[in-house]
């Protein structure tokens, strides 16, 4: 019963953190931009009508509210269904994992919307003047070599541990996990290269802001890599030592940690008052 109570507390925390608290912070941030950097003074920030930004914000808010209440409802249903279960009896299998993936959908849609916004900004940018910093962007300027080494060590630690508990037999599950890990890290490497040498998405972004964003992105990816390896190790251990009832707790903690360091990290690190919004003002010649 205590495990169930712990799970409900963690799952409630997952629902509130990812589908209520962080969306609320993001909405607050969007409102802050609309209020302090209006289209009349910062036209380059709004390649389309600001009404579209407001509409997108409303859709994002609604989607999170639906997911929030769905999460509470699911929790209620599972609580009723598992009322008589023992502590070591599996229940709510897959719930935090599946629900966690659903919770991240609004954030992914917001990201896609942001990329579309940047594309429109690039299309609308008629300026003939282009700026760039003369400082090279190198990986270890943004993340410590130690953290990268630790992330790599953890990857191999997971692979070794998974093989160890399976007597070094390459089962199909292990192969699938290794392939998934390689794909995820392949994606991270691609994103890292794009961050360091690729074109900037926002054509007006100041060099200092790009540097800060790059630093956050890279540090975030290293953190996620480490947590992913730890999560996989924990899941393999739980499976091997027949502690499957702990799986739901580990899954819920994992999603909350990812949200804390990902979304939460972005909100804490990239503050609106630190961003140079003057780059979005109209060119003097056009005023």
């Amino acid at each position: 019963m205590s495990i169930h109570i712990l799970f409900y507390a963690l799952f409630l925390s997952q629902i509130i953190l990812i589908s209520y608290y962080y969306p609320k912070q993001i909405i607050k941030r969007i409102d802050g931009v609309l209020k302090n950097y209006p289209p009349e003074d910062y036209p380059k920030l709004y390649p389309e009508s600001p009404d579209k930004v407001i509409a997108a914000k409303a859709r994002y808010q609604l989607l999170n509210q639906i997911i929030f209440f769905a999460g509470l409802a699911l929790m209620g249903v599972y609580a009723l269904m598992s009322a008589g279960y023992d502590d070591n009896q599996k229940f709510a299998e897959g719930l935090p994992l599946m629900f966690g993936m659903v919770q991240f959908i609004p954030f992914m849609l917001l990201e896609i919307s942001g990329c579309r916004q940047f594309k429109l900004m690039r299309k609308a940018n008629k300026s003939t003047s282009r700026s760039a910093g003369l400082a090279p962007r190198k990986l270890f300027d943004y993340v410590s070599p130690l953290s990268v080494i630790l992330a790599v060590v953890l990857i191999f630690a997971f692979i070794f541990f998974d093989l160890y508990i399976n007597d070094f037999v390459f089962t199909s599950d292990i192969i699938i996990r290794i392939i998934a890990l390689c794909l995820v890290h392949g994606l991270f490497i691609g994103l890292t290269i794009k961050q360091l040498t690729g074109k900037r998405l926002d054509p007006h972004q100041a060099v200092k802001d790009r540097s800060q964003q790059t630093e956050f992105s890279l540090q975030s990816m290293v953190s996620v890599s480490m947590f992913l390896s730890l999560f996989l190790i924990a899941n393999s251990a739980v499976e091997f030592y027949q502690l499957s009832y702990l799986e739901i707790i580990i899954n819920s903690i994992y999603f909350q940690v990812i949200a804390f360091f990902g979304i939460g990290g972005m909100l804490r690190t990239i503050r609106l008052d630190n961003i140079n919004f003057d780059v979005y003002r109209a060119d003097k010649a056009n005023v």
Partner: protein, 126 residues
């Protein structure tokens, strides 16, 4: 330190890049030994063709303003402060003017000078 280029400026883009980097060095905004962005990074940041940036870097390397160290990257040359102030084109023009003056003093005509110059360039290229 930021550089800015104007794609509608009549000055060629690679020349703008060369001048801006030399100016940054002359003004002590970047120092000998400082590393510079890779060709790819600078080309992407300025939304230019990488050949344009490569050409600018090649000219700067020729003038001993920067030095390329392979995979380690590109760095400001130790003597960049002095070398960035030298105008190679002005040096070439001054040398040619000297040679032309000497030829004219010796009674050589303009067309003979042009033919001799062309012949000298061809033999160098071959």
């Amino acid at each position: 330190m930021e550089i800015t280029i104007d794609i509608e400026d009549p000055m060629p883009l690679f020349t703008q890049l060369v001048e801006q980097i030399k100016s940054a060095i002359a003004n002590n905004n970047i120092k000998p030994g400082d590393s510079l962005p890779s060709i790819r990074q600078l080309a992407n940041d300025l939304e230019l063709n990488s050949k344009t940036v490569a050409k600018a870097y090649k000219l700067l390397e020729r003038d001993l303003v920067i030095q390329s160290k392979g995979y380690r990257g590109t760095f400001v040359h130790p003597d960049a402060i002095v070398n960035s102030k030298m105008d190679l084109n002005a040096e070439v023009l001054a040398t040619l003017n000297q040679a032309i003056s000497a030829c004219k003093t010796a009674g050589v005509t303009d067309s003979e000078i042009r033919i001799a110059f062309s012949s000298a360039m061809n033999s160098k290229n071959n």
